[in-house]
Structures are given as structure tokens and as C-alpha cells.
């Protein structure tokens, strides 16, 4: 087990006042709150900060923690000394209750120090009597899918780590694997709700729900917004100038598209219904990007020279030079 330096986590000195600790906590909690932050490790950081605050905000727990000494460094191997907490009484005060409020949110380090003493005070503890029912909490997870999965629907295996309290009150995590259908037409950021698949309740309490947030893997050529799909389509100068019928990739396979003569660079064309299927289906927006043929051969250089002579073209005319 690794030692956790709660002062370092909170970014305060060991002699910080309770007010300073509270201020540091509020600031960090806002920064890392999983509803606010998009940082990948936000939830983890938020829990870490919550755990540090759980200890430091409570003068009794803080005093006991301080007694371990200032020589410990974060990450060092740690074993709680026997009877280290003699003379302290942890009367609880409850959890700060982190994101997802699962009881197993705290680290092994925290559990080894404060786990036994005061957990019994909580409703989720081993002391809960018969007749005590609490509904299970909801479980949230993210699912990464590809654009193809949204186009055609897919099945995904999702593994969840479920905290469980055993008969002696220890919290362990168990892996649970679910197979879930990803419905066709699902959009980025939408949630799939699986009723009753969340954390189990206590007693006869109903289990919570499982929410899966859909996130798209970035695609190499398409961008997705809602059900609409965006594509930058390179075209040759003569295709844009003279008009052409060209092949365009779409998520469902290539289609032919007509380009009008005199199409400008950056023109947007809409292919109705060629986005992600649904009611209504999304559209495919194609932005023309005129690609310049390289002037690497004598032949190509000659053609560019001919254009310079034949065309009276000043691309900077609008800039007044």
C-alpha cells in the first residue's frame, strides 16, 4: 500500500488552518468536479481531493494522520503501525460523498487508517440491521464507439468495477461484464439508460440504473455533430472551375456528386440524408477544398507558366495591391 500525502493532494502546508484547507478543497473540487471538468482523470482527482478533505477537515482524523509523522513521502510503501490510532476516536461525520457516491470510493490507504472505526456508523456498514433498505446508486460509464457503429448499430462488452461490501465490512471491487446493444443512430454525448443495471441496493432496495455515455472515436476523415457528418473534400482546380461529377465517400459508401462550374474554394454542399440514420436522418456536409497540383515536372511547370500568361488573374485584387 502506498502512503498518501493528503497535504500535497490539497496543495497546502502541514500547518494550514482549517479555513485554508476548506478554501483549497472548494477550489480543487470545482476544478476537478466530473460534471465540470473534461480532463480524462478528473473523476480520479476529484475522489482523491475528497478523500484528503475527509481527513483534513476533521480535527480528530487530521491529528491522527499528523501523528504518522511528516517523514512519509507520497507513494512510499506504507503499513499502518499497530495501535497507531490509540487515543483517537473517530466519531464519523459521514463521507463527503463523491461522484457516483459509491461507498468504495476511498483508497486502501484511507481504509486501512479510518475504514474500520467509523464505517459502522454509516447505513452501508456491516452494522446495518435487518429491515434496513436503501436503493442502489446509479452507475455511470463511458462507451467509445466508431462512426460505423452509429451507422449500423453494434454490440459492446462493457466491464464495470463494482464496489462490494463483504460480510466483515471490507470493500472490494468486483468486475462485472455486460453486453449492450448500441442502437443505430445514436449521437455523440447521448446516454443509454439501462434500468436496474446499476449498483445493487441494500436489503430490498431497488438497484440503481446504469447510464452509458456515448463518445465517438475521432474519425480519420469525418467529423460528427449530432447526426450530421462533415467532410472536407479535395477537388482539382479544373473540377471546381469547369464543374464535374465526382465520387464522394460517405459513411455508408461512396456516392456520385455533381459540382457546379465556378465553384469557389470552401463552398459547402449538402447531401441530404447521408449522415447518421435516424428520424430524421442526418445530412452530410461537404466542404470543397481546391487542391493545387504540384509543379514538380517540366510539363506541369509549363502549364502553370501558360496560365500565368493566358489568364489575367490577380488573386489579391480585393486587397488593393
Amino acid at each position: 500500500m502506498k502512503f498518501k500525502d493528503y497535504y500535497e493532494v490539497m496543495g497546502v502546508n502541514r500547518d494550514a488552518t482549517q479555513d485554508e484547507i476548506k478554501r483549497a478543497y472548494r477550489k480543487l473540487a470545482r476544478k476537478y468536479h466530473p460534471d465540470v471538468s473534461k480532463q480524462a482523470d478528473a473523476e480520479e482527482r476529484f475522489k482523491e481531493v475528497g478523500e484528503a478533505y475527509e481527513v483534513l477537515k476533521d480535527p480528530e482524523k487530521r491529528a491522527a494522520y499528523d501523528q504518522l509523522g511528516a517523514n512519509w513521502k507520497a507513494g512510499q510503501d506504507f503499513q499502518a503501525p499497530p495501535d497507531w490510532d490509540a487515543g483517537f476516536e473517530f466519531t464519523g461525520g459521514g463521507y463527503t460523498g463523491g461522484f457516483g457516491d459509491d461507498a468504495g470510493a476511498h483508497s486502501d490507504f484511507f481504509e486501512s487508517l479510518f475504514g474500520q472505526g467509523f464505517r459502522g456508523a454509516g447505513p452501508a456498514g456491516p452494522g446495518s440491521r435487518g429491515g434496513f433498505h436503501v436503493g442502489g446508486t446509479d452507475h455511470h460509464a463511458k462507451v467509445l464507439i466508431d462512426l460505423d457503429d452509429a451507422m449500423n448499430g453494434a454490440t459492446r462488452s462493457i466491464s464495470l468495477r463494482v464496489p462490494e461490501v463483504d460480510a466483515r465490512g471490507h470493500v472490494t471491487t468486483r468486475e462485472r461484464v455486460l453486453k449492450v446493444n448500441i442502437p443505430k443512430g445514436v449521437k455523440q454525448g447521448q446516454h443509454i439508460r439501462l434500468a436496474g443495471q446499476g449498483n445493487r441496493g441494500i436489503g430490498e432496495g431497488k438497484p440503481g440504473d446504469l447510464y452509458l455515455e456515448i463518445e465517438f472515436n475521432p474519425h480519420s476523415i469525418y467529423r460528427v455533430e449530432g447526426r450530421d457528418v462533415y467532410l472536407d473534400l479535395p477537388v482539382a482546380p479544373w473540377e471546381a472551375a469547369l464543374g464535374a461529377s465526382i465520387k464522394v465517400p460517405t459513411p455508408a459508401g461512396p456516392v456520385d456528386m455533381k459540382i457546379k462550374p465556378q465553384s469557389a474554394n470552401g463552398s459547402k454542399l449538402r447531401l441530404s440524408g447521408r449522415g447518421i440514420p435516424g428520424k430524421p436522418p442526418g445530412d452530410l456536409y461537404v466542404t470543397l477544398q481546391i487542391a493545387l497540383p504540384p509543379a514538380t515536372t517540366d510539363k506541369a511547370k509549363e502549364i502553370y507558366r501558360d496560365m500565368r500568361q493566358a489568364l489575367d488573374f490577380n488573386p489579391r485584387a480585393r486587397l488593393g495591391v
Binding site: 472548494r26 468536479h33 460534471d35 465540470v36 476529484f46 460523498g97 461484464v177 453486453k179 447521448q190 439501462l194
Partner: protein
């Protein structure tokens, strides 16, 4: 438990298919109706229907209630502050989407 690993589960898309009464929303979020009414008063939720007994909420409401609960509890902000935070977070999400649309694929 082993059985669950082999069955394929079908969920519903919360944002599109879910339609909840006040009672169902309360049950799903484990809150009492007063809390929901406060959120409606604050303009955070906009149920369809006139009378409370005929209110209908969309699936998005469910997420907003859960988010409001967490923000209130974890950050100690009052409901007006939560309402502001939710609006700003929605705006940030929209801006992120736009940014994502304008960015060149394959380059992060």
C-alpha cells in the same frame, strides 16, 4: 451474475425516448417532488403540461437533476448558482462541439 455476461441488454436513448412523469423522475433520481419543483421554479427544467399531475419531463431532465444534485452537494452551491453553472456547462458543450467540427480530422 454469469448469466448477465451472456445476455445482450437493450437500453433506451435517454435524450430521445425517455418521457417521465414527476413521480418517475423523483424515483429515478431518488429525490422528493419539492426538489424537482424548485428546479422547475428556477427554470432549470421545463416540463410539458400545465398541472403538476400532468407534467412530463424529457430524458434530458433526468441528467439535469442528477447534475444539479451533485453540484449542489459536492460544491456547496445554491440553486441559483447551480442553474447558472448548468447553463454555462451547456454552452461550453456546444462550443466544444463547434470547435470539434471546425478542427481538421486526424489532428488533435
Amino acid at each position: 451474475m454469469a448469466k448477465q455476461a451472456t445476455d445482450t441488454l437493450n437500453g433506451i436513448i435517454l435524450e430521445e425516448e425517455a418521457r417521465l412523469t414527476l413521480r418517475e423522475l423523483c424515483d429515478a433520481c431518488v429525490v422528493n417532488a419539492d426538489f424537482i419543483c424548485e428546479l422547475v421554479d428556477e427554470g432549470m427544467l421545463e416540463p410539458a403540461g400545465q398541472e403538476k399531475s400532468h407534467w412530463y419531463f424529457t430524458g434530458i431532465s433526468l441528467r439535469r437533476v442528477r447534475r444539479a444534485q451533485r453540484l449542489q452537494r459536492d460544491l456547496g452551491i445554491n440553486l441559483a448558482g447551480v442553474a447558472l453553472a448548468l447553463d454555462l456547462l451547456d454552452e461550453v458543450d456546444q462550443l466544444r462541439e463547434q470547435l470539434n467540427r471546425l478542427s481538421v480530422p486526424g489532428q488533435e
